[in-house]
Symmetry: C5
Subunit: 305 residues, 5 copies
C-alpha cells in the first residue's frame, strides 16, 4: 500500500541488506588479493562491464516499465471499481420509481448498496488469497452469506445476486426495462474489473525474463571490482557498493510493483479503497433516508404545480 | 497552471538555487584540495561516473515519462469534464420536451446547468484540498448547498442531486425513459472523471523509485568533480554546475508534473477550466431564453404545416 | 500541413540557418585560438560532452515522443471528426422515416448536413484563431449565422443547433425516440472531438522542459569544439556543424509537431480535411435527391408484395 | 503482405545492394589513401562517430516505433473490420423476425451480406488506389453497382446503401426500432474503421524527420571509415559494411512499415483478409438456408408447447 | 503457459545449449590463435563491438517491447473472454423473465451456458490448430455438434447458434427487445475477442526485423573475442560466453513471447482458462437450479406483500 509519502531509509535498504553485505565482502576480498598479493593481472578494462551495463540497462528499463504498467493498471482497475460502485448506488437510489417509495423498496435499496460494499471487500480479500467472506456479516444477511459461501468465486456470486435483484425489481415495477439494461451494463463493467484483477493476479511476469535480468545483474556486479580496482584502489569499495545498490534497488522495485495484489507494503491498497467505498455508499444511503424530508420538499414543490 | 508560454529564467533556476550553491562550494573544495594540496591521487577516470550516468538516465527517463503521463492524463480527464459538461447541458436544453416549455421547466434547466458548473468548481477545489463549497452560493440555492455540505465528498453529492432531478424530470414527463438513461450515462462518465482525478491525487508515485533516483543523482554529482578535475582543472567548476543543473532540473520537472493537483504553478489549471465551463454553460443557458424568440420562430414554422 | 512528400532541402535548413552560422563562426574562433595562439590547454577530453550527450538524447527522445503523440492525437481526432460527420449524415438521411419524405423534410436534411460541414470549417478556423464564421454563409442561412455569431464558442453553438433540430425532428415524428438518443450520441462524440482539440491547443508543452532541453543543447554545442579540436584540427568545423545541426533539427521538429493547430506548414490540415468532408457530405446529399428515383424503385418493389 | 515466415536473404539484401556497393568502394578508397599514400593524419578517434551513433540510435528507435505502430494499427483496424463484418452478418441473419421468413427476406439478407463482402474488397482496393469496384459484379447487382460508381468514395456509398436497407427492413417490420439502432451502431463502427484507414493512408510520416534521419545516417557512414582505419586496417572493410548495413536495413524497415497500404510486400494483406471475410460470410449465408431444416427442428419443438 | 513461478535453470539454458557450445569453441579457437601462434594483430579495440552493441540494444529493446505487447494483448483478450462469458451467463440466468421459469426454459439456459463453455474450448483449440471440436461432446448435443462441424470456423458457428437462440428466446417471450439487443452486444464483444486472437495468430512479427536482429547479434558475437582477447587473455572465454548468452536469451525470449498461441510452454494458457470458465459457469448453473429453493424464498417474500 503505497500511501505514505515518506519511507524510512531503513526500510529501503533493509530490503537489500544481505546483498549489500555480500558485495562488500566480495569487493574487499578482490582488493586484498590485488594489493596484498600483488595479483595485478586480474584487473580488466572498465569497458567490459560497460558493455554488460548497456544490456542490463535495457533489461531493467524494460522490466521497470512493464512492472509499473501492471501496478498502475491494477490501481486504475480499482479506480474504476470506485466509480462503478458509486454509479451503481446512484442508479439504485435515483432511477427507481418514486411512486413505489415504500419501506419494502427502502430495504431493497439498502440491501443492494450494502452488498456492493461487500463485493469490494470480498474481491480485495480473494485477490490477496485471504478469506473472501471475512467481515461481510455486518453488510449482508446470514442467508445471502451462506449462499455465496458455496461458490468458489465469491465476488462472482455477489454480482449474480445483484443480477437477480434487478430482475426482481423489474418484476415489482420498481424499474423499467431500459433501466434494468442500463444497470446490468454497470454490473458488466464491475464483472470486467473483477476479471482484470484476476488476470493480473494469475499471470506471472515472464519468469525467464526475470531470470535473465537477475543473472546479468549478478554477472555485472561480479565483474565490477576487477574493472575498478586498478583506477580507484580501496576507494572502489564504496563506489562498487553504491553502483551495485542502485541496480539492485531498481530490480527490487520492479519485483515489488509487478505483483500488485500480494499483501506487500507496495501493493494496491484494496482494503483502504474498499473502506472508502463503503463510507461513501453508506453516506449516500443514510442521507437518502434521513435528511430526505427537508431535501425532497423543495423538489416536490414541483409536483403540486 | 502551465499556461504562460514564457517562463522567467529566475523562476526556473530559483527552484534549484540552493542545490547549485552547494554543488559550487563542493566542486571548489575538491579543486582546491587537488591543486593546493596536490592530492592528485583523488582523481578517478571519467568512465566511473559514466556507468552511473547510464543508470541515472534510465531512472530519469522512466520517471519523466510516468510523471508526464500522470500530468497529461489529469489534463485529459479535465478535457473530458469540459466535454461532458457541454454534452449534459445540450441534453438538458435540447432533449426536454418543448410542449412543456413552461417557466417551471426553465427553472429546472437553469438549476441543473448551474449545478453542473458548481460541480466543476467543487471538484477542482476538493482535489486541491481547499473548501469544496467556496463560491458555490452564486450557483446554487442555499438549501441544496446545505444538503451537499453534509457529505464528505461534495462533488459526489452534487452528481447524486443531478440523478434525483432526472428522476423528477421523468416523473413530470419532461423527458422520456430513453433520454433518462442516456443522460444518466453522461452522469456516469462525469462520475468516472471524478474518480480518475481522485485516483491520481491519492496514488503517490512509487516513493522508493523517487528515492533511488535521488540517491543515484546525489552520488553521481559527488563523483563528478573527482572525474573531471584531472582533465579540466578549474574549468571543471562551470562544467560540473551545468551537468548537475541539467540532471537536477529534469528531476524537479518530474516531481512537479507527477502531482497535477497540488496547487503549484505547473499543475492542471482546474479553476481556469471550471471558469471557462461556467462561461460556456451560462451562454448556452442565456441564449436559450433570450434570443429564443427570433431563433425558434423559423423552426416553429414547421409546426404550422 | 504535412501533405507534401518531398520537402526542399532549402526549407529544412532554412529553419536553422542563423544557428548554423553562429556555430560555424564559434567553432572557427576556437580553432583559431588553438592553432594560431597555441592555447592548447583549452582542449578537453571528448567524454565530457559525451556525458552531456546522453542527457541530451534522453531529453530529445522524451520530447520527440510527446510532441509526436500530440501531433498524431490531433490527426486522430480529426479522423474521428471525418467519421462522425459521415455517420451523422448517414443517420440523418437513412434513419428518418420515409413515410414523411416531404419537401419540408428534405429542407431539414439539407440544412442539417450543410451545418455539419460548416461545423468542421468553423472548428478548424477557431482552433487557428482566425474568424470562426468566415465562409460559412454559403452553408448556412443568414439567420442561423447571426445566431451562432453571438456565441464565443461558435462550434459549440452549431452543435447546440443540431440538438435543437433533433428535438424538432422528434416532435414532427420524423425520427423515433431511440433514433434521437442514437443521433445525440453522435453529437456527443463530435462534442468530445471538439473538446480534445481545444485541450491540445490550450495546453502548452511543459515550458520548463523545453527550456532545459534548449539550455542543455546550447551547452553541449559550446563544449563540442573544445573536445574535438585536439583530435581533428580544422576538420572539426564540418563535423561540429553536422553534429550540432542534427541535434538542432530534432529539437525544431519537436517544436513544430507539438503544436498541431498553429497555422504552420507542419500542422494538422484542418481546412483540407474540412473541404473533403464537405465534398463527401454534399455528394451523399445530392445523390439522395437526384438519382433517388432510379435507386429507390427496385427497393420499393418490396412494398408492393 | 507479411505472411511468409521465411524471407530469402536475397530479398533482404537486394533492397540495399547499391548502397552496400557504394559503401564498399568508399571504404576501400579511404583505406587505399591511408596505406598507399600514407595519409595517416586523416584518422579520427572512434568517439566522434560514437556521439553521432547515439543520435542516430535515438532517431532510428523513434522512427521504428512510430512506423511499427502505424503498421500494427492498420492491421488492428482490418481485424476490427473482420469482426464487425461477422457481427453485422450475425445480426442480419439472427435478429430478423422469423415470422417473416419469406423468400423476399432471404433475398434481402443475401443482398445485404454480399454487399458487406463487397465493401471489404472495395475499401482495400480504394486504399491501394486501384479500381474500387473491380470484381464487385459477382457480389452486387448491376443497378447498385452503377449507383455506387457515381460516388468518389465507393465504400462510403456502400455503407449508405446498408443504411437505406436497414430503414427498409424497419418499414417492412423485419426488424424493430432497437435492432435498427443496434445495427446502425455496427455500421458506425465500420465507418470508423474506414476513416481510420484513410487517415493512415493520407497522413505522411513527418517528412522532415525522415530527412534528418537519412542525413545523420549518411554522415555517420561517411565518418566511420576514418575512425576505424587506424585500429583495424584493411579488416575495417567488412566491419564498416556490416555496421552500415545494420543501420540502413533498420531505416528501410521503418520506411516499409510506415505506409501499410502501398501495395508492397510488407503491407497489410487487405485482399487476403477480404477474401477470408467473404468465405466466412458466404458460409454463414449458405448454412442459414440449406441445413436449416435439421437444425431449426429441435429448436422449434419449443413452439408446440 | 507461463504459470510456474520457478523455472529450472536447465530449461532456460537448454534452449541455447548448442549456441553456447559454438561460442565456446569459437572463442577458444581465437584465443589459441592469439597466444599459441602469436597472431596479436587480430586484436581490435573494444569500441568497435560497442558501436554494434548500441544498435543491437536498440533492436532487442524494440523487439522485446513489441513481443511483450503481443503476449500481454493475447492475455488481455482471454481475460476479456472470461469476463464476457460470465456476463453472458449472468444475463442468460438473470435477465430472463421468471414468470416463464419452466423446465423448457431451464433446458434453454443450460444449453446456452454450456455452449458458451464449449466456445471457449473451441476457440483455444482452433487457435492452436488442433481439432476445434475435440471434447465438445460433453457440452453440446450431437445435433448441434454436427451442425458446427460443417463450418471452417467452428467458434464463429457457435456464436451464430447463440444469436439464433436469442431470437428464439425473444419469440418465446422469455426476453424483451432491449434484453435481446443488450445480450447481442455481449455476443459482439465475444466476436471481437475471437477476431483479435486470430489477428495476433495470423500476423507474423515483421520477418525482416527478426532477421536483421539475428544478423547483428551474430556479427556482434563474432567480433567480441577479438576485442577482449588483448585485455583479458584466457579469462575472456567465460566473459564472452556470459555476454553472448545474455543477448541470445533476450532474443529467444522475444521469439517465445511474440507468438502467444503456438502450443509452447510460454504461450497463453487457453486450455486452463477455458477450464476455469467452465467451472465457474457450471457452478452458476447448478446453484441456479439446486439451492434455488432456499435462496429464492426470502426474495420471493416480497411478492406476497
Amino acid at each position: 500500500m503505497l500511501l505514505k509519502k515518506n519511507i524510512p531509509l531503513k526500510y529501503v535498504f533493509g530490503k537489500i541488506k544481505y546483498e549489500i553485505l555480500l558485495v562488500t565482502v566480495y569487493t574487499m576480498a578482490i582488493s586484498t588479493l590485488y594489493y596484498r598479493f600483488d595479483l595485478t593481472f586480474i584487473s580488466i578494462p572498465i569497458s567490459v562491464p560497460m558493455v554488460l551495463g548497456t544490456v542490463l540497462s535495457l533489461l531493467l528499463a524494460f522490466r521497470s516499465n512493464q512492472a509499473y504498467d501492471r501496478w498502475w493498471e491494477a490501481r486504475t482497475i480499482w479506480g474504476a471499481i470506485v466509480n462503478d460502485s458509486r454509479t451503481l448506488t446512484r442508479q439504485v437510489l435515483s432511477l427507481m420509481d418514486a411512486n413505489y417509495q415504500s419501506e419494502e423498496m427502502q430495504h431493497f435499496q439498502e440491501r443492494f448498496v450494502k452488498r456492493q460494499a461487500a463485493w469490494c471487500y470480498s474481491l480485495g480479500q480473494s485477490l490477496r488469497k485471504t478469506d473472501p467472506v471475512k467481515g461481510l456479516d455486518r453488510l449482508m444477511s446470514r442467508r445471502e452469506l451462506n449462499y455465496v459461501m458455496k461458490y468458489d468465486n465469491v465476488p462472482a456470486a455477489l454480482l449474480f445476486l445483484h443480477g437477480k435483484d434487478l430482475k426482481e425489481a423489474l418484476n415489482n415495477g420498481w424499474i423499467n426495462q431500459y433501466q434494468q439494461v442500463c444497470m446490468d451494463e454497470t454490473l458488466s463493467r464491475l464483472c470486467d474489473s473483477m476479471g482484470k484483477c484476476e488476470r493480473i493476479k494469475n499471470t506471472v511476469f515472464p519468469a525467464t525474463y526475470s531470470l535473465y535480468t537477475h543473472f546479468t545483474l549478478i554477472f555485472f556486479i561480479l565483474l565490477l571490482p576487477f574493472a575498478l580496482i586498478d583506477v580507484m584502489g580501496f576507494m572502489e569499495i564504496p563506489v562498487v557498493i553504491a553502483i551495485a545498490s542502485s541496480f539492485m534497488l531498481i530490480e527490487k522495485m520492479g519485483i515489488n510493483l509487478q505483483d500488485p495484489f500480494e499483501n506487500k507494503p507496495t501493493d494496491t491498497p484494496v482494503t483502504t479503497i474498499a473502506r472508502n467505498i463503503e463510507k461513501d455508499l453508506r453516506q449516500l444511503l443514510q442521507e437518502q433516508y434521513e435528511p430526505q424530508e427537508e431535501v425532497l420538499e423543495p423538489v416536490s414543490r414541483y409536483y403540486v404545480l
